[in-house]
């Protein structure tokens, strides 16, 4: 069912709750997409670097792991915003 049609069915306070739920869902979903793309790109480049220059693998893996964790922090922030919007 389309979103406007769904919105028309709920009224008053339900509409506010509906809006909150949709916003929280979007916040978490959108916050997870960016880091997903970032991690894919990051690891892809790191794997290429390690395949080409295995002697630098230690350094590449170190920076890759930290890069993954930093990128993941964005998704974590999105999740916390979702939790606080939805349940706090």
């Amino acid at each position: 069912m389309a979103l406007p049609a769904l919105l028309a069915q709920v009224a008053g306070e339900d509409q506010i709750a509906f809006g909150e739920a949709i916003s929280a869902g979007f916040a978490y979903g959108l916050a997870a997409i960016g880091p997903g793309i970032g991690i894919g790109y990051l690891v892809g480049q790191a794997v290429q670097a390690m395949a080409r220059q295995p002697e630098a693998a230690g350094m590449v893996r170190t920076t890759m792991f930290l890069g993954i964790a930093f990128t993941e922090a964005l998704a974590l922030i999105g999740f916390v915003v979702f939790i606080l919007l939805k349940f706090a």
Binding site: G36, I39, V47, M50, T62, F70, E72, L76, F79, I83
Partner: protein, 143 residues
């Protein structure tokens, strides 16, 4: 002909970094717990402790997955990084949603604890790693 590396047999640096972070969390966690206790009481302290546990398990799981798959194949490591991200994000969500209605849970210290611990430990580790990139266990000299 150029030889291309398809798997890594060297030391698992991810495990070393994760272990380093866990060690650094030991002196930092009491401070976080005290701050949470001051703001939200015992429930806040318990929630912050739960957040720290989630972050440490998340980082350890990430390191273990990458270290394990790197020994098998780089392509598998790529897959483990991406699907591991999804899996760990799901596990974090599950861990938080499972306890959100519990009596001892305060959502603000839990959420803030997650972000502060994750970013704090990473930045702290980065300080050491940037000083000695390939050997994260080494401490930088002050002179």
């Amino acid at each position: 002909m150029t030889a291309i590396t398809t798997r890594l047999d060297g030391p698992a640096v991810e495990r070393e970094i994760a272990a380093d972070m866990a060690k650094r969390a030991v002196p930092a966690v009491p401070v976080l717990l005290i701050l949470a206790a001051v703001g939200w009481g015992f429930d806040g302290m318990a929630s912050a402790a739960y957040a720290v546990a989630i972050v440490l398990v998340n980082l350890t799981l990430s390191a273990a997955l990458l270290a394990w798959t790197a020994r098998i194949s780089l392509a598998l490591m790529m897959g483990a990084a991406l699907f591991g991200y999804l899996l760990r994000l799901g596990l974090v969500a599950l861990a938080v949603i499972a306890v959100k209605d519990a009596r001892w849970v305060e959502l603000w210290p839990l959420g803030l604890g997650l972000i502060v611990t994750h970013l704090g430990l990473l930045l702290w580790e980065l300080r050491y790693v940037s000083a000695s990139l390939a050997f994260p266990g080494l401490k930088p000299r002050k002179d």
